[in-house]
């Protein structure tokens, strides 16, 4: 019984729905066709209702697996979601939120206003007071002119309404067509997807690729710019391929094949094929001919100074793998840079010249050999260099050590390979160095050109690099030590890396105080009364002598600073208990191991502000009294103190602002007019217009469009 009743109710429902689906303007008598389709639908509904009787209420989306000629216009209904379809929904593709949400939004906007002026709606406008206003009002009302909202006059509204039906019909037809097409396409795609034959797919893919190629060629002829874009896409695909692990020997299939490859020729071939494919996919497309560049690179090779290993490894670290490129050494750009370098550094130029003289004509052979050697060496020494930058970053110290040691080994080997030239270079450099040391000013004159990232060229410099690293970690504040270091590597070395230069920018205290400042030429030299002069000058001289007795002032200051630094450092906590777990007694000290174990090292604080300012001691202690006045709680919407700080940076007081600005900054949140009744806020006050369906839904949905149209109309009117 119950099932029958349920079915009945469902039937009734569906009928009702249909009735509502029909637009009201339609005559209620359906044609034969429609009646037929209706019957089908009812049948289906009934089936569904029956199938859903077993408890689980499964909604099945109406889908057509095959394209049919007969597409019911009612099939566009949203049967699945169980909602009624209304004409206005079809008209406005843009979904509007529910009215409540809209009102809420508007209300929020009102609430977020800095100042709220109440009452919200200015009724004064409507209220006519003077007789003249009354008259104007009357006329407006008579002519059905809008009084408050001048968007559309009632007449215009009516005309728009009249127009909308035909438009709506056309629109609906279009939509139906589009949907039908989409359904055809979807059905086809679904069918094709279901085909399990691999061969079919393979063929399909190849076909597609071919077609794409053809299209591309065509496009190239017709529209080169579009072709370029297409090319970019291909390039991107290549990149993706490079990023992915596809077609590399890491997949399941590839691994299986690799095992089989030893015994199976086919498998081997398949693997090779795959590798070839990988190469093909990852091959960079290059338009320019390579011969010239290669020449350039070879020439440049000759110019390069000493062990190329140094340079190479650096390149490895920051660029893509050079071996993957076709011409391992540099494009034309770099060659230019090299030239510039050559011009800049006469020393380097000389060296390279001498090298070139020495070298026999068969440079290239040697070069090739060295490449081979290096490659082999690198393979041996592990993957430390071509490891991902990530890992590098993590273990910077260790890797740098490794690299250094490896560098040494490499360059030694190389040196052996071309002993004479190498030695020559070294010696020449050495001889030149002192000369350079004597003329630092020249080097300083062209800092802009010189200061591009330079590579260490000699072994000594490499070693110094290592030392530098140690020094940097230590950070000795004493200028004495600094001076020594200065002595060791005067900063105008041609190949000195940047860190050195930066390091030396720390101001030397001795310099700071002892540098002779130019004296002032004053017109009026103070004349002193003789007795006074005697007395005072003697006094002053004595004082000066006292002051200059040694570097007492500086030394004292440095001592003071050191003490201050020590005092401000967080202290380690020593938790060792003498005699605990050991022999006790007088004169016995806990073992070093134990002390180390129970020493809690304090975390290193942030660097001091005066770290690089030798003549300043800045107190790092916190001003607790001032901190009591600071904000220590973040108010609600802020998640980070910087955000909040930004909002409180502008002072509000009248001391810092103009009068108007001050008034604006300090207006109360709610401003009311005295003597006015404040009614509860209505949706209309907020700017929301109810009755979206009855009143010109088109206008509501896309006001922009209409407003522009309306403007045009207005313009026309004005012109007329």
């Amino acid at each position: 019984m119950s099932t029958v009743r349920a079915a009945e109710s469902l039937l009734a429902l569906s009928r009702q729905e249909e009735l509502e689906d029909l637009p009201k303007d339609y005559p209620l008598s359906p044609s034969e066709d429609e009646g037929d389709i209706d019957g089908e639908r009812k049948h289906q509904k009934l089936l569904e209702a029956i199938s859903s009787l077993d408890g689980k209420n499964r909604w099945k989306l109406a889908e057509r697996s095959e394209a049919s000629l007969k597409v019911s216009e009612f099939n566009v209904t949203s049967e699945g979601s169980g909602e009624k379809l209304v004409l206005s929904d079809l008209l406005g593709p843009v979904k509007t939120s529910s009215s409540l949400a809209a009102v809420k939004k508007q209300l929020n906007r009102v609430r977020s206003k800095k100042t709220l002026e109440l009452p919200l709606n200015n009724e004064e406008v409507e209220r006519a007071r003077t007789p003249l206003e009354h008259e104007v009002f009357n006329i407006l009302h008579k002519n059905k002119q809008p009084v408050t909202d001048p968007l559309l006059t009632p007449v215009e509204k009516a005309s728009l309404k009249a127009m909308s039906l035909e438009e709506a019909k056309m629109r609906r037809a279009e939509l139906q067509r589009a949907r039908a097409l989409q359904s055809y396409y979807e059905a086809r795609a679904r069918r094709e997807k279901k085909i399990k034959s691999k061969k079919y797919h393979k063929v399909l893919k190849k076909e597609k690729a071919k077609k794409a190629l053809k299209d591309f060629e065509k496009l190239q002829k017709v529209n080169p710019t579009a072709a370029l874009e297409e090319l970019e896409k291909i390039e991107k695909a290549r990149m993706m391929e490079r990023m992915s692990l596809k077609h590399q020997n890491s997949g399941k299939w590839a691994k299986a094949k690799a095992i089989m490859a030893k015994y199976d020729l086919e498998a081997r071939q398949a693997m090779q094929e795959q590798l070839a494919r990988n190469k093909e996919l990852t091959q960079k497309l290059q338009a320019a001919s390579d011969s010239e560049e290669e020449k350039g690179s070879v020439e440049e090779e000759g110019e390069l100074l000493v062990p190329d290993t140094v340079n190479e490894i650096q390149r490895d670290a920051d660029g893509p793998n050079p071996w993957m490129l076709r011409n391992p050494f540099s494009g034309p750009k770099e060659a230019k840079v090299q030239d510039a370098e050559q011009l800049l550094e006469p020393v380097a130029h000389e060296a390279s010249e001498s090298k070139e003289e020495e070298r026999p004509g068969a440079k290239e052979d040697i070069l090739l050999n060295t490449f081979e050697e290096r490659r082999a060496l690198r393979k041996k020494s592990g993957l430390s260099q071509d490891a991902e930058p990530l890992r590098k970053q993590e273990s910077e110290d260790s890797s740098s050590q490794e690299v250094l040691s490896e560098l040494r080994a490499l360059s030694q080997k190389l040196n052996k390979a071309n002993q004479q030239s190498g030695k020559q270079n070294m010696t020449s450099l050495r001889t030149v160095l002192p000369v350079q040391r004597e003329e630092p000013t020249e080097a300083e004159e062209e800092p802009l050109l010189m200061q591009r990232p330079e590579r260490a060229h000699t072994m000594e410099e490499l070693e110094e690099l290592g030392k530098e690293g140690c020094f940097q970690n230590k950070e000795v504040p004493r200028p004495v030590v600094e001076g020594q270091q200065l002595e060791r590597n005067p900063h105008n070395l041609p190949g000195a890396p940047k860190e050195k230069k930066r390091k030396e920018q720390m101001i030397d205290l001795q310099n700071l105080l002892t540098t002779k400042s130019p004296s002032v030429k004053s017109l009026a030299v103070p004349t002193t009364v003789e007795e006074l002069e005697d007395e005072e000058e003697r006094h002053q001289k004595q004082m000066i002598k006292e002051a200059f007795a040694g570097d007492d002032v500086i030394r004292d200051f440095l001592k003071e600073k050191r003490e201050a630094v020590e005092a401000s450092k967080p202290k380690d906590v020593d938790l060792t208990l003498p005699g605990w777990g050991e022999w006790g007694g007088v004169g016995l000290k806990p073992s070093a191991k134990k002390r180390r174990r129970f020493l809690i090292k304090a975390p290193e604080g942030p660097p001091r502000k005066d770290k690089n300012l030798p003549n300043v001691i800045i107190n790092e202690k916190r001003n607790v009294h001032a901190a009591a006045h600071q904000v220590r709680v973040l108010p609600y919407p802020f998640t980070h103190h910087q955000q909040f700080e930004r909002t409180i940076q502008t002072p509000i007081g009248s001391t810092w602002n103009t009068q108007r600005a001050f008034q604006k900054l300090t207006t109360p949140r709610v401003v009311t007019k005295p003597g006015h009744i404040i009614k509860p806020i209505k949706a209309e006050d907020v700017g929301y217009r109810s009755s979206s369906r009855s009143d010109l839904s088109v206008v509501q949905r896309n006001p922009k469009q209409l407003s522009t149209r309306h403007k045009k109309q207005l313009k026309k009117n004005s012109v007329n």
């Binding site: 920051d318 930058p389 970053q393 800092p447 200061q451 230069k501 920018q505 101001i507 205290l509 105080l513 400042s517 130019p518 002032v520 004053s522 009026a524 030299v525 103070p526 004349t527 002193t528 006074l532 005072e536 002053q540 004082m543 000066i544 002051a547 002032v553 200051f557 003071e560 003549n615 300043v616 001691i617 800045i618 107190n619 001003n623 607790v624 009294h625 001032a626 901190a627 009591a628 006045h629 600071q630 904000v631 220590r632 709680v633 973040l634 919407p637 998640t639 103190h641 910087q642 955000q643 700080e645 930004r646 909002t647 940076q649 502008t650 602002n657 103009t658 600005a661 604006k664 900054l665």
Partner: protein
């Protein structure tokens, strides 16, 4: 005995001003002609005019800060809603406004009033926070534009002496200047011959008073500190401040800072008569002291060549700067708190930058070390060397005085014992062994005064009002610190501490992102293994994102590291030898 004497403000100009005050104020609709006829705007005679009289052949002054308008793109501030209509409004007469909308404001002028540094990047913020930030930024912009607009009201412009080609302004004598200027200004040059008593030291108040109002002034006598009223009646004798050598008054904090022979720096709250702090400088006799008008920090010069910066809130100095190899003889800080001039026994005069780095900007060796230094309101530096006074001038308002060429020199009849610029007047007061000299220094003082802040022409009633207001707005002594803007920052340390405590109290971090919890799925897909798998998947994804981000940042960092060395040499490069 050291006495502080206060040369009374001349009564004459006041009278003159009263007369001008009675004139009918010019309305904007009045014609230009009346403007030129009415001419002299109310206010004291200004340097500009004087300058014109001095050097008529040069029409425009180079040093004048020109209000340049950017010709290319006039910057329109956000228009208020009323002015939305594009057509220029026609007024009743039908005439069209040739310059519709608000007047454009040059960007540099508005930038001067900017408070928010937009170059600093903020962490990612939610939409709600973002809207708040946007509101704050818009407000700041609007306010800065308003302030820039009000610059128009600063009608007076400073003027300087300018030599004809090759002429040295330092050669111009006071007598020549006095001859050239108007009578009122000339009257400000005088010499008091007071040979009877010892050397004199003097001070001007921000308006013309010594303590917070002209009714009170403090005098450090042989043993104790005495406070007198304007009739010379002794009001207080403060015995806790003994053997005081130097006095400074911090007007916004109502603090009287005294440095004593015993090596103590004492802060006395004048409004309540209590000693706020007595700090032992541990550097022997203190006889060099000055205040930083910007942040109310006291600078003390010591015999070991250091200058220490003090605040009553801290027992130790805020900073210590080694300035000279000999003892420090004089210290002065300019009104913006940017530059500090020091002179030492090594005959050097140095100018330091006080903004964070405390490094010397320029140094000069003087034939004889300067014993006294003073900055004027517009950044002119005066140095007294035995009986000669030199005055140096900077290139602009915000630049330090360049020590290459003195702007003016003057020889006195006795040794300089104290020098001070008079606020809002182009006058330098000099106390020396033979009396007191008032010297004219064109361009020294700020030509525009803020009537609500320091009004030289205020009446007694206004003074009383001001006194009450100032007392209400008294800044607590403990707020004195090196960077006063730091008070507008959140106390991060206690914030973190509180957060930590809260986490401890609750047992979990309420603000932390909840760990991913896979949703149960139907049909046996919710097995433990698959749950774990899903969880791991999300975890891995997060990890990957993190790695990707760090990788993205890496090259940027490298660039950052590489760039500043190349393109932007540090300001401290000049010290590398």
């Amino acid at each position: 005995m050291e006495t502080a004497s206060k040369p009374g403000r001349d009564v004459q100009p006041k009278k003159a001003r009263l007369q001008t005050k009675k004139k009918k104020p010019r309305r904007y609709w009045e014609k230009e002609a009346t403007l030129t006829a009415a001419g002299a705007s109310p206010g004291p005679p200004r340097n500009k005019k004087r300058n014109r009289e001095l050097r008529p052949q040069r029409p425009k002054n180079i040093n004048l800060p020109k209000k340049s308008r950017i010709p290319g793109k006039p910057q329109f501030p956000k228009k208020p809603r009323e002015q939305r209509n594009l057509e220029p409004q026609r007024n009743l007469s039908g005439a069209q406004d040739p310059f519709p909308g608000p007047a454009p404001i040059p960007e540099e002028v508005a930038r001067k009033f900017r408070r928010i540094d937009k170059s600093k990047k903020l962490p990612h913020s939610k939409s709600k926070t973002r809207s708040r930030l946007e509101v704050a930024e818009a407000e700041e912009e609007e306010i800065s534009i308003k302030a820039a607009r009000s610059e128009l009201l600063l009608a007076e412009e400073p003027g300087f002496l300018e030599g004809e080609d090759g002429e040295d302004t330092a050669k111009i004598r006071q007598a020549e200047i006095v001859e050239a200027v108007d009578i009122a200004s000339a009257a400000k040059h005088f010499d008091l011959n007071l040979r009877q008593f010892g050397p004199y030291r003097l001070n001007y108040s921000p308006v013309g008073r010594f303590l917070h109002s002209e009714a009170l002034f403090a005098v450090a006598q042989n043993r104790w500190l005495h406070i007198y009223d304007n009739q010379g009646i002794e009001l207080h004798c403060i015995r806790r401040c003994d053997r005081v050598t130097r006095l400074e008054f911090l007007p916004f904090h109502f603090l009287l800072a005294t440095a004593s022979e015993t090596g103590f720096l004492t802060y006395l709250d004048v409004s309540v008569g209590k000693i706020v702090a007595a700090l032992n400088a541990r550097a022997g006799r203190l006889d060099v002291m000055t205040k930083n008008p910007y942040n109310a920090v006291i600078h003390l010069g010591h015999s070991n060549g250091t200058v220490s910066l003090w605040s009553p809130a801290m027992k130790e100095p805020l900073a210590k700067i080694l300035c000279h190899r000999g003892g420090v003889r004089a210290v002065a800080v300019d009104s913006t708190g940017t530059y500090m001039a020091t002179s030492g026994l090594d005959h050097q005069l140095k100018i330091f930058d006080l903004r964070g780095m405390f490094q010397p900007l320029s140094a000069r060796t003087l034939p004889q070390g300067a014993g006294h230094l003073a900055f004027s309101q517009r950044g002119l530096l005066a140095a007294g060397m035995s009986d000669v006074v030199n005055i140096w001038m900077g290139q602009g308002m915000a630049s330090p005085p360049s020590l290459e060429q003195p702007y003016l020199t003057h020889r006195l009849s006795g040794h300089v014992h104290g020098l001070h610029f008079c606020p809002f007047e182009d006058v330098l007061g000099l106390g020396h062994s033979g009396g007191i000299t008032s010297m004219l220094v064109p361009g020294a003082a700020e030509p525009n005064f803020d009537g609500l802040e320091n009004n030289p022409y205020r009446s007694q009633k206004q003074r009383q009002e001001w006194e009450v207001k100032a007392l209400l707005e008294k800044v607590p002594a403990e707020l004195i610190c090196l960077d006063p803007r730091a008070l507008a920052e959140v106390d991060v340390i206690s914030l973190e501490q509180e957060k930590k405590e809260r986490i401890e109290r609750l047992g979990y971090d309420p603000e932390a992102k909840a760990p991913f919890q896979p949703k149960p799925k139907q049909k046996g897909r919710s097995s433990t293994a698959s749950l774990v798998k899903r969880r791991r998947k999300v975890m891995d994804k997060e990890h990957r994102d993190k790695v990707r981000q760090s990788l993205e940042q890496q090259p940027q960092k490298q660039e950052k590291k590489a760039k500043p060395l190349k393109a932007r040499p540090s300001a401290l490069d000049r010290f590398v030898r």
